[in-house]
Symmetry: C2
Subunit: 449 residues, 2 copies
Amino acid sequence: MHDLVIIGGGGAGLTAALTAKKTNWDANITLITNEELSYSPCALPFVIGGEIEGLDKISKDIVKICKESEINCVIDTVISIDADRKLVKTERGEEFSYTSLIIATGGVPFKPPIPGVELEGVYTLQRIEDARKIMHALEKAKNAVVIGGGAIGLEMAAIFIKRGLKVTLIEQFEHVLARPLDPDFSVLVENKLKERGVEFILNKSVKEIRGEGHVESVKVEDRTIPADIVLLGVGLRPNSELAKKAGILTVDGGIKTDGLLQTNIDDVYAAGDCVDSRSMVTGKLMLSQLGTTAIRHGMITGMNAVGGYATFEGVLNSMILKIFDLEIGRTGLTEGDARENEIDIVVGKVKGTTRSSYFPGAKEIDIKLIFNALNRKIIGAQVIAEEGVAGKIDLLAFAIAHNAEIMDLMKLKYCYTPPVAPSHNVIVEAADNALKKLRRMMEVRKRRF
Amino acid sequence: MHDLVIIGGGGAGLTAALTAKKTNWDANITLITNEELSYSPCALPFVIGGEIEGLDKISKDIVKICKESEINCVIDTVISIDADRKLVKTERGEEFSYTSLIIATGGVPFKPPIPGVELEGVYTLQRIEDARKIMHALEKAKNAVVIGGGAIGLEMAAIFIKRGLKVTLIEQFEHVLARPLDPDFSVLVENKLKERGVEFILNKSVKEIRGEGHVESVKVEDRTIPADIVLLGVGLRPNSELAKKAGILTVDGGIKTDGLLQTNIDDVYAAGDCVDSRSMVTGKLMLSQLGTTAIRHGMITGMNAVGGYATFEGVLNSMILKIFDLEIGRTGLTEGDARENEIDIVVGKVKGTTRSSYFPGAKEIDIKLIFNALNRKIIGAQVIAEEGVAGKIDLLAFAIAHNAEIMDLMKLKYCYTPPVAPSHNVIVEAADNALKKLRRMMEVRKRRF
C-alpha cells in the first residue's frame, strides 16, 4: 500500500489530494490541515466588500470533500517531519508514516517590524478568520490606512471606499503594484483609485502604528494619519519552517524543488505558496504565490507522489485584478524585470477600445507588449480596461510560453463583431507599434553610415 | 512614378490604399469606389436595431479619408480591366492606367432563384442603402420572415424580435449556423432565439415568396407564413465578374491568388470578399468573407503592390456573433469539417462559468475544442457564453496557428480573480477532457489484447 501524506488543505494541498486519488485510486491518502474549510483567499476581499453574500458562499467543508473521494482528512497541525523515518507528527501527538509526502503549507502574511504592528485593529488578510475580524471591525470603522500597494492592498482600499471609509494608502515604492506593473501602468490604477477618493502616500515608509491597545493613527515621516482600521498588505512569506527543520533546502524562504516539484529529499514534494518556481522567461527562481500556480503545483505533485510523471514548466505570473470597474492584467516580465535581467527590449504600446469605438459601452483599453529586441520574442504584457482583459492576458501568456515573435502576433486570427470586439485588434496594433519602433531604430542606424 | 489603382473602397480596398501610402509615400494611388462612405457592413444590423444611433455613427467620408493621405479618390464604377494595356475603364468613361492593380470588389448578397424574390419588401443586407430601406420598412412591418440561419439572418431575427415583430426563420439545413458550428452548439443558439420568440422552420426550403407587388407571405412546403418583410441571408457571392472578364482565374467564384495575393496576372492583386483564401489547417481554398480577412488582405496587397513584400498566411475564420445576450464564437475546423477532410479527431467539451461560480453575475460557458487525434494538435474550437468569448476564441485561434497540442493548452498560464475569471480555466478543462478521452481509447484498445 502506498501511503501519501499531504500537509496543508489550501488550493495546492487539496488539488494534490484529489489528483493523487484520480491518478492512483489504490493509494492511501491522508490530508492534514488546520482549516476545516476549503476556500480561495482571493475571494475574501469580495466577501468583505459585500459583493459575495457571506463567507459560506465561498467555502466548502474539506472533510466532506475528502470523504467523497476516499481521502483521509485530519484536522490538526503538523509540528515536525522526520525524513529519515518517513513520518510526520502533529500537535495532538499523532504520527503518520508516509511513502511519499507533499508539503503544501502555503504562506503567511508578512508583518513588518513596525512599532505597534500588533495593536488591535491592525489586520492582514489571508485566512477566513481574518475576513471575519475585518468585517466585524468595519461595522464602526471610519478611517482606514492600507499599508502596501499590492493586490490585496488595492482591493481592500477599493472596498473600504465602497463601505464609506476615508482611505489612505501608503506604499514604500514610487508606485503601487511596483513589481507586477511598470510605472506607466501603475499610474492608471492610481488615477482610478484617486478619482474614487483614495489618498496616496507613495515612496514613504510607515514609522509607527500608534494607539492605546487599539490602533488610533499611523505615522509616516512627518505626517500622522488617523486610523481605526489598518490593513497590512506587504506580501506573503513562504511557510517553510517545518520543511527547513526537516533538512529541506530553501531559497529566499521558498522551498527549492526540481522539475517534478520534488525537494532535495526523495519522495518529498512541495506545492503552492511555500515553493519557489522558475520564471519561464528567465529561468530564474522566484516566488509566484498565485492561486493558479498552487493548483498547477497541486496537480503535478499529486500525480508524481503516487507514481505518475508530470513536470512543471515554470511560471509567467499571469495575474488579473478588479479594482472598482477596472480590470488590471499582466503576464511575463515588466520593462523593469527586463532591465534587471539585462534583456534589450522594444515595447509596443497603444490605446484602443474594447468594442468598436462607435458601439455604446465601448471602453478605453491600454495595452503594452514587451519584446526581446534581439530575437523579437514577446516576454511580457500589461493590459488595463473595464472589460475583456482576462482573455487577452491568457492569450499573451500563451504567446510568451510559445516563443511567439512580433510578426506572429501581427498575424493573430482574431474575431470581430461591433458589440464585443473591434475590427482592429489592440494586440495586433501593439505588435505593429513595436515593429515600427524597431524599423525606426534600424533607420537611425543606417543614416549614421 | 508608380501608379497603383485600387478597385473598391470597402475594408479591403481602403486598407490597401492606406497601407500602400504608408509603404511607399511616392506612389500615385487611385482608389475607385462606387460608395462615398466607408463603413463596416457588420455594423449595419446594430444600427437597424437601434443600438447604434444612426448610420452616420458608423460611416466616414471616404473622399476625406483619402484626401488626408494624398490618395486620389474617384467615385465611379469600373466596367472593365484591360490587363494587356494595364488600364481600367469606368462607367463615366474615364480611363486609369496602372503599374499595379488591386481588385477589392467585395461580394454581392446571393439571391436564390425563388419565385417572388424580387418583390418589394424582400431585402438583403450588405450596403448602407439596404439598411436604410429596412429601417423604413420596419416602421410598419409586423411579420418578418428570415430566410437563412447564417450570421446576418440570426442577427436580424434578434433585431426583428426586439422591434416587436413576429419572426419566423427558415433554414434549409438541419440547424442554423450549419457551417461555422456543429449541431450541438447550433442548438444552444436556436434555444436562445426560441426562448425569445423566434419560430424556426429547419431542414426545409422556401418554395415561393408571394404577394401583389409587395411581399405578403412565404411558402415553405405545405405552410404559408404571412410576411410583410423578408430578409434574405443566404450568403455572399464573390463579386469577380470584372476580374473574370479580364482573364483572371477564379475557383468557385472566388479570385485565385498566390501567397502574395497576386492573381494569375502579374501586378494584379486581389483582396477581400472576392478572393479565395487558404485554410491554415487544411491548406484548401475557401471563401472567408470576414471583415478581419478583408483588412489583412488589404494590408498585404497594399504593401506588395508598391514594392513591399508580405505573404498571406491563410485563414481560420475566427468569428464572433452577439445574438441577444449570447456571444457565439468559433475558429478553425468544426467536427463536420474534420470529417469532410478525413481527419481523426478527439473532442474536449465542458461547461464552466465565466467568473468564479459563486460570484454574482457568473454565467455559464460552453466550450468545445477539436483536436487531431493522431498528432493531438488543436484544429478547431467553439465557445458560447454571455461574456468573455472573444478573448478565448482569439487565444484558441493563436493556438491553432501555432500547432499547439493538448498538453500545451493544459499548461496555459491563465489569470484568475473571482469577479472576472474563475480559478479553473475552461480551456484547460476542455483540453483535459480531450486527454481523458484519448486515454480511455488507449485503455479500451489495451484490453482487447
